[in-house]
C-alpha cells in the first residue's frame, strides 16, 4: 500500500470516497466501541455476588480494624522510615566517596553502587535475614525485625540514593564552592553549609519517588521471620486472607498502600513542576 494510499489520503479523498478526517473519526469510534464492549463483557461475565463476598466483604473488612492500621500500616511506615533514613545517610556517604579525590574511596563507592543496584531486593532481604546472623553469630541487628527490614531496605536505598545525591551535588554550580572557599570555608565546611543543602533541594522530587518505592518494597519483610506484632501491610493482609478464606484483607491492605503512595507521588510531581517553573 503506502505510497499510493498515503497520497490518496493527502489529497483528502480515499478510494471509498471518504475524507481523511471522516476516516479518522470512524477509526476512533471503533476503538471506543471495542473498549466499551470489553468493559461490558467483563462486567457481565464476572460473578458479582462472589466478587463482593470475596473482595469487598464489609464484615471481613470491618474485622480488620484497627489492627490493619495500628499494626500493618504502622509497621510499613516504620520499616520504610528506617530504610529511608539509613539510605539517606548511607547514600550521602557513598555519594561523597564517589566524588572523593581519594581513589580507593571512589572504587569502593562505585563497586557498592553497582553491586546493590544489580541485586534483586529479595536477595538482599534473605541475605540480611539469613546471612548476617550466620556470618556474625550472636550479633543481633538492633531493632529486631524493624532493624533487619530497615537494614535490607537501607542497603539497597543507599545505592540508589548515592547516585541521586551525586547528581544533585554535581548540579550545584562550581561558583558556589568557589564563593564559599573564598570566604575562608574549608572544603568540608563549604560542602556541608553551601553545596549539600542546595543539592538536596534539587533532588527532593527523586527522593520522594524513592520513598514511594521503599514503601512498596517494605512488603518483602514477608520473607523474614517476623512475629505477629511485626507484620506490615502485605503480610498482615495475606495472613488474614488465609485465616478468613477471603480476599478482602488484601484489598484493604492495597488501599492502605495507596493512601501513602498516591499523595507522595502527587507531592513529588508537584515539587518537580515547581522546580521546573522556578528555574531562572
Amino acid at each position: 500500500m503506502t505510497a499510493k494510499s498515503a497520497e490518496a489520503a493527502e489529497v483528502g479523498a480515499a478510494p471509498g470516497g471518504l475524507t481523511r478526517r471522516r476516516r479518522r473519526q470512524l477509526s476512533l469510534g471503533g476503538q471506543y466501541g471495542l473498549f466499551a464492549a470489553a468493559v461490558v463483557l467483563v462486567a457481565v461475565l464476572a460473578d458479582w455476588e462472589t466478587l463482593r463476598l470475596n473482595f469487598a466483604n464489609w464484615d471481613v473488612a470491618r474485622s480488620l480494624f484497627p489492627d490493619v492500621i495500628t499494626v500493618g500500616l504502622r509497621n510499613t511506615a516504620v520499616y520504610t522510615a528506617v530504610g529511608f533514613g539509613l539510605g539517606l545517610g548511607g547514600g550521602l556517604l557513598v555519594a561523597l566517596m564517589r566524588l572523593s579525590s581519594v581513589p580507593p574511596y571512589r572504587w569502593f563507592a562505585t563497586a557498592y553502587i553497582e553491586v546493590f543496584r544489580g541485586l534483586p531486593l529479595l536477595l538482599i532481604f534473605i541475605f540480611v535475614g539469613v546471612g548476617v546472623p550466620l556470618a556474625f553469630p550472636g550479633a543481633n541487628i538492633p531493632g529486631g525485625a524493624a532493624g533487619q527490614a530497615g537494614l535490607a531496605l537501607g542497603l539497597a536505598a543507599t545505592a540508589y540514593m548515592a547516585e541521586t545525591i551525586r547528581a544533585g551535588i554535581e548540579a550545584v554550580p562550581k561558583g558556589q564552592l568557589e564563593a564559599a572557599r573564598s570566604l575562608g570555608m574549608s572544603h568540608s565546611r563549604a560542602m556541608r553549609s553551601i553545596v549539600i543543602p542546595q543539592a538536596f533541594r534539587i533532588i527532593i522530587p527523586p527522593l520522594t519517588n524513592e520513598l514511594v518505592l521503599l514503601c512498596k518494597d517494605s512488603s518483602l519483610v514477608l520473607f523474614l521471620g517476623i512475629t505477629l506484632e511485626q507484620r506490615e501491610l502485605t503480610k498482615f493482609g495475606r495472613d488474614l486472607a488465609g485465616e478468613q478464606g477471603n480476599t478482602t484483607p488484601i484489598i484493604v491492605a492495597g488501599i492502605c498502600y495507596l493512601i501513602i503512595t498516591i499523595p507522595l507521588s502527587l507531592l513529588a510531581r508537584r515539587l518537580e513542576a515547581r522546580q521546573r517553573r522556578g528555574q531562572r
Binding site: 561558583g175 568557589e178 564563593a179 573564598s182 570566604l183 575562608g184 553549609s193 553551601i194 542546595q198 522556578g278
Partner: protein
C-alpha cells in the same frame, strides 16, 4: 577572643605590600595562561587590571587567593606566602575578599543569610553579632530594605552589592573584584561602582579587573594592562589610559572606549599587534 575585624598577626605592617607577586606562571595543560607576572599592591592602594578577554586577568586574580594553584612563582598577601608549604589557606583566604563576575550568591539563603553564614561558620561569631554586622554592611551597600530577600528576588546590581557585603563581613585586608559589573544591565552598573568607590575612599586595598575605564580613571591609583599572560604596561591611569606607551594598549583602549570605531579597526588592529611585537 580577638575581634574578627582586626588584621591578623603580622599583617598590615607599614611598608609591606598588601599583595606581592613574583614570577607568577600558570598553565592549564599545555596552555600557558600567565607567563611570568610580577607586580605588587601597596596597602590602601587601588589597582585596576585591564586587558582583552582571555589575557589571563581572571586567572591572575584567582591565583591571588589560590582558587587556582600557580604553576610557578610566589604570591604573598599581607606578608604571608600563599605558595609556601605550610600556609593555612583557609586562614589566608579570610583576609582576602573576592567578588565574582557572576555574583555567586548562595541561592538558598536570604541576603542576610549570605552575609551571616561565613561569619558564623568561619569566624565563629555569635548569631546576634553576625546579624548586626550583616545589617550594617547591607545598609552600607544600600540594601537595608532587602535583608530578607532571596537572591532570585534581587536585581543583578543588588545581588552584586550583597556579594560585596558578604566579602566585607570577613574583615578582609584586600578585596579582589573580577569584572564585577560585566554581567549587569547598564543602568545597574552605577550602583555597584558607587559602592566600590566608597570602599576605595575608605582606604580598602583593592585589585579590580574591569572594563569600566571611567571608574579606573577616577578611582585607581594605578592601572595594569595585561595581554597574552604578561603585564604590558602599568602606571597611573592618566598615563596608561590617556597616553598609553604601547601599541597593544592603544589598540585595546580604542576598542573599549569606542566600540563602533573598534569594529572598523579590527583588521588594522592585528597589524598593530605585529608592529608592537617588532618594536619589542
Amino acid at each position: 577572643m580577638k575581634g574578627a575585624g582586626e588584621p591578623a598577626a603580622g599583617a598590615g605592617r607599614a611598608g609591606r605590600s598588601a599583595v606581592e607577586i613574583r614570577g607568577l606562571r600558570k598553565s592549564f595543560g599545555t596552555n600557558e595562561v600567565l607567563r611570568g607576572v610580577d607586580f605588587h599592591v601597596a596597602p590602601g592602594e587601588v589597582v585596576c587590571v585591564i586587558g582583552p578577554s582571555g589575557s589571563g586577568k581572571s586567572t591572575l586574580l584567582r591565583c591571588v587567593n589560590l582558587l587556582e594553584e600557580p604553576t610557578a612563582g610566589t604570591v604573598r598577601v599581607t606578608g604571608v606566602d600563599l605558595t609556601g608549604p605550610e600556609v593555612d589557606i583557609d586562614a589566608a583566604r579570610r583576609r582576602i575578599g573576592m567578588v565574582f563576575q557572576s555574583f555567586n550568591l548562595f541561592p538558598h539563603l536570604t541576603a542576610l543569610g549570605n552575609v551571616v553564614i561565613a561569619q558564623r561558620k568561619v569566624l565563629r561569631r555569635a548569631r546576634p553579632e553576625a546579624e548586626r554586622i550583616a545589617r550594617e554592611l547591607l545598609e552600607r551597600v544600600g540594601l537595608a530594605d532587602k535583608v530578607g530577600s532571596y537572591p532570585a528576588q534581587l536585581s543583578g546590581g543588588q545581588q552584586q552589592r550583597v556579594a560585596i557585603a558578604r566579602a566585607l563581613a570577613m574583615g578582609p585586608e584586600v578585596m579582589l573584584f573580577d569584572e564585577p559589573t560585566s554581567a549587569l544591565d547598564p543602568e545597574l552598573v552605577g550602583d555597584v561602582l558607587g559602592v566600590m568607590r566608597g570602599l576605595a575612599e575608605a582606604g580598602m586595598t583593592m585589585l579590580v579587573v574591569t572594563h569600566e575605564m571611567s571608574f579606573a580613571r577616577e578611582v585607581a591609583d594605578r592601572v595594569v594592562f595585561m595581554d597574552g599572560g604578561v603585564i604590558v604596561e602599568e602606571g597611573p591611569p592618566s598615563r596608561v589610559i590617556d597616553d598609553p606607551a604601547h601599541a597593544r594598549t592603544r589598540a585595546f583602549l580604542s576598542r573599549v572606549l569606542d566600540p563602533a570605531a573598534a569594529r572598523i579597526g579590527d583588521a588594522a588592529e592585528s597589524d598593530m599587534f605585529r608592529a608592537a611585537d617588532r618594536d619589542a
